[in-house]
Amino acid sequence: MHSIRSATGVLLVLLLVLVGSVPGTAQQPRAGGTLNYIVTAEPPSFDGHRETTFALLHPIKPHYNLLVKFDTRNFPKVVPDLAESWTVSKDGMTWTFKIRQGVKFHDGSTLTSRDIKATFDRLAFPPEGVISVRQAVYQGVKSIEAPDPQTVVFRLKWAVPSFLEKLASPFNWVYKAEILARDQRWYERNVMGTGPFKFVEYVRGSRWVGRKNEDYFERGKPYLDGYNALFVRSRSVMMAALRSGQALIEFRGVSPAERDELRGALGDRIQVQEAPWSCNLIISFNTKKKPFDDVRVRRALTLALDRWAGSRALSQIAFVGPVGGIMRPGSEFATPDADLVKLAGYGRDIQQARAEARRLLREAGVPENFTFVLHNRDVSMPYEHVGIFALDQWRQIGLTVQHVQAETAKYLADLRAGTYDAAVDFACDYVDDPDIQLAKFVSSDVSPVNYGGYIDRQLDLMYFQQSRTADKATRLQVVRRFEKRLLHDQVYAVYVLWWQRIIPHSRRLQGYKTTTNHYVEPDLAEYWLSE
């Protein structure tokens, strides 16, 4: 009897140890429920290949898969999606992807390599009348082949660096070849993918609804029964929706004040995740206009900015923070602080920098109290904050700056027409890759979004070199030279501060992890609700 009791006791202890060793039951994915989340803008069309906005990705991406995708829990690691595996030739010129078997489109048809080929042909070589905004990214692709139903081969003109990351663009939704063959523009107004959620309805100005794809190829996923993407433009309504629980999350980000308000109202019912953001605010100078055509003036303007103090102060009130060069701080290509401080305007001694700035202005013949206009968007967060910061910094070297905030359409028209002195500009993308992040700064006759008006073939050449250098160390060196020329030698533009993502969400939402950009999210197949 005693031995039976002892054995029972041992078993109980073992059971307790086993239960204790299992990750908390709250962490076990739970099936069911509908996720309501906010999207603060609406998609212009339904076609990922022709749009550039998160407003398309957040409601519609859950209907689609990619060939390969970023792992949002280990960003920026690229993992298989529709591709099961891949190999790359030694010279880096041929990429071969094996496609998963048994993947079904939402109409029940089977996905094959033909669909992948048709998708990437459309992205890299769009037929007449079709817009692929990412065509320039795939200029290194020579051909795409589908030798058998489960194999796709990309042949390149040169060993394209970060090719896998470029394929993993969250906009590269895989479409059905048969539909594209029939009508290349069908996807602008319709949805047909292989993704974890099927399309239910879209009410313009109101909501986008998806429901679980029961035939999804990843067994057991998605966990959610469905989702409602609620289109809410007003920040105050968004905050009220998060407070009331009508929505559990917004995947772009909130300001520090909004974060604090939610924390105050909801206490431990809300969880906040923060991460550096692959977006930044830049100040562009109109180099065709005096005195901004003089590099000494531009250098004086960058020298006057105390970025380090600005970071400490502005990060309290706006979603900006990290000080960095042309690549996001903390990313693979980021410039370490030790090198960064050698660039004009990044030094730690602001008094010395401002004295040098005043000297340069005098040398360039810029009079004391010289007045110019800083153009900006009429968007408060974080444009207005950064604009006010800049004009205060420039005031401290004896300049008078008028801050003119305009509606976005007028602001862009002014920049395009060159009717501005200096402007708060921005750059944002889904990955920290120099090809994608730096394209903006090549000469204005090459880049339509370079509003500085300068032609600099040395810069163009460096961009070209880095985009054809497969070796990471060598590429990094070229990127550093590009950065020195852009920010230090010529000062065509000034990086002010990088953004900081702040994502508050209900604790009911599980499985979500904030990444460094709002394009690769949401990854709805991975999320579940705790109750």
């Binding site: 906005t53 817009i131 107004r189 313009r204 609620l230 433009r233 359409a409 339509p448």
Partner: protein, 317 residues
Amino acid sequence: MNRYILSRFLLMIPTLLAVAVLIFLLVRVVPGDIVELRLVLGGSFVTPRVIEAERARLGLNKPLWNQFADWMLGMLRLDLGRSMWSGEPVAREIGLRLELSLQLAVMATLIATALAIPLGTLAAVHRGGWVDNVVQVFSVAGLAVPSFWLGILFILFLLTVFQYLPPLTFTSLWVDPKANLAQLIWPALAVGYRYSAVATRMTRSALLEVLREDYVRTAWAKGLAQQIILRRHALRNAMMPVVTVIGLEFAFLIGGLVVTEQVFNLNGIGKLIVDAISQRDYTLIQGLMLLVAAGYILMNFLVDLVYAWIDPRVSYQ
């Protein structure tokens, strides 16, 4: 009367045509480009070729007269064109929002009328007394408080006290009346209160004027009951300016509740107008402005007809 109605209808055509020309030119004078907003604002790198191709697709590279002719030819076929932003037919974009905007305008008008006529009458009858003072305070407060601000107060109150927020998405009255009213009652109250303040003051002053008329004095002298004097003789005659105010306010409510719609996340015509303008969606702006203009013309016309119904002395022969 029929001749009058027909002539007023025919007059609408040149008026709307003038509005069309004006709107067509005005939207193109304002700086901004829908293609840049759409393709460049995302921050991505797009080539000039792509931007030009998109402009050509939208017909923006055609001469202005050609664009206007295309629009007018479409109008002759009762086709307002397609939204340059969404690609959807303009009529569909408007139709989707019209139900909400119309319902909100009707609800706000009903609330305003239900408040304004009794309160204005009470204030006029008890002129100078405490009832008049209370009504005056109520209506002055209504004029002073913007409806969107009142809306924000409603939301904060509901959120703080009841942890409740009205539904964020619109459900048709015919599909789920409860959900529909749960969303629209709050903005209707906020807008209706301000609207009632204007109408209350108008009712009071119009009624005071009528109450001084000889025929009202005669009615008092005849010993008629106050209720009969008010209902049968005074109020009906005092209604002319009140009907004008209510009619014009109603027309305004169809597209003018821009901020209130933002506050309650209402998918209405006002929000659509703001979006269309900020996106430089020319075809949609043109369609919307025509709708607003037509709304005002139609309401004016209806108000004229109501005059004749209220006061048989009014004749349109």
